[in-house]
Symmetry: C2
Amino acid sequence: MTTHSRVLPLARQTQARCQSCGLSSLCTPLTLTFQEMEQFRSLTRQAPPLHKRQVLFQQGAPFTSFFIVRSGSLKQSSRLPSGEDQITQFFLPGEWVGLDGIGDQRYPGSVVALETTTVCEVPFQRLEGDHPLVVEMRNHLFHAMSREMHHERMLVRLLLRRTSDVRLASFFMAMSARFQRRGYSPYCFRLAMSRGDIGNYLGLAVETVSRLLSRFQQQLMATRGREFQILDFEGLRRLAEGEGRQAAHG
Amino acid sequence: MTTHSRVLPLARQTQARCQSCGLSSLCTPLTLTFQEMEQFRSLTRQAPPLHKRQVLFQQGAPFTSFFIVRSGSLKQSSRLPSGEDQITQFFLPGEWVGLDGIGDQRYPGSVVALETTTVCEVPFQRLEGDHPLVVEMRNHLFHAMSREMHHERMLVRLLLRRTSDVRLASFFMAMSARFQRRGYSPYCFRLAMSRGDIGNYLGLAVETVSRLLSRFQQQLMATRGREFQILDFEGLRRLAEGEGRQAAHG
DNA sequence: CGGCTTCTTGATCTCGATCAATCAGCGTGG
DNA sequence: CCACGCTGATTGATCGAGATCAAGAAGCCG
């Protein structure tokens, strides 16, 4: 078991990287590199691949494990008392799934694959006890959750007062950052979720998302189906941060 | 130090109570009863009372302690790159302040008193080590943060798609639940924050808050300055949950 | 090729921000 | 004690962003 000790510095490294990320974005910062995923592998077990629309776990199911995305992507949505589904998160490779189930020992939303997806399962009980590796791991999660708590709070509250174009720009900036952190191009990526999913996530109608994409098309981004290319990164960032042409400026 | 072991079951008790709280609300569930606050006292030190507008800590200051509110109330706000302040939280007696500073070791927002307020300081380093009390305490926080993570995510995302009256109704339902949990009346309470603060928090203009209160006045609530009384609790709940008269129903 | 879902574009209407003015509360000082 | 001024709260009028309704267009898969 002592062979895992090399994980520790890596955990800190992730943390440091997150700290230096000043992007005002929707980014969920619980991210591992492929290398780190290999290191943690001893705690995990590989699950069979999910195909599109297949469910990883259902809302309300007892929390037993969380998961790390190896490839593909997923969405998490919660069924509201009113009957609608609210998408609360998207997951990309390297990101943690199910952390919000720790709290009351049930998954608070259903997670389904947006495309063919593979995940690693991390049984939660393997994170109990006082083994140094595990202690460090929990510590890592502790910090990460605190960060995300604030992230979420500030950014989503921020979105409350923002126009639809700012919301969408923030979304793409966040996605860009997440791809970049995984070593992919921050300028050109494919998102497996539908326009409807994006709209649901951001609190916008599908039509609005579509119209905004058309508007962005001219200057900021090139869109082709679910492939996105950021043409004017700075411009998009300025828009997301509210420095751009916004309602009631000058 | 072993005298603190009686704390452990209490921590679990809090957790159980939070679990059973099914309110769809903005509630931040990190709450202690006065009794529990006494138990934890050994970890804390009393700070001198803050008067209105006095700052507990500034955004960006190094994270050293968090705090538990003993009496009064506070607000937390973050200065955005654009220069505006976004209120991210209100704190009532029994609630934890500063948890979101753990992540990157800095307070992500400034916290100021809304009225004369007393808090207990809990130096973070007293929560390190493997002493059973401290382990249990961290565990408690771990669970609480996970819960709050989801809470925040779902509810604020929910608010994104909600009309102003639903947002405000949710706000009062959450406040009501928080007062109730502390043993106060859930129907009649005083909120020290201004209309502007509420609007900022919910992403609404002051004028909108004011107008909504006038509208609520007729049926749902009685308002007098910063004293609020809920007249039709069920009605307010239905409105908050989206079952009420809403845009595009019938 | 049909039959689906997803995406786009157009037209209308409503909610809530904004601008503007008045009013109420309240501590200060004459 | 009351006049004054300041801040916060209310109310009215206007306007624009975005939801909604409606209809096509484009993929996508059997």
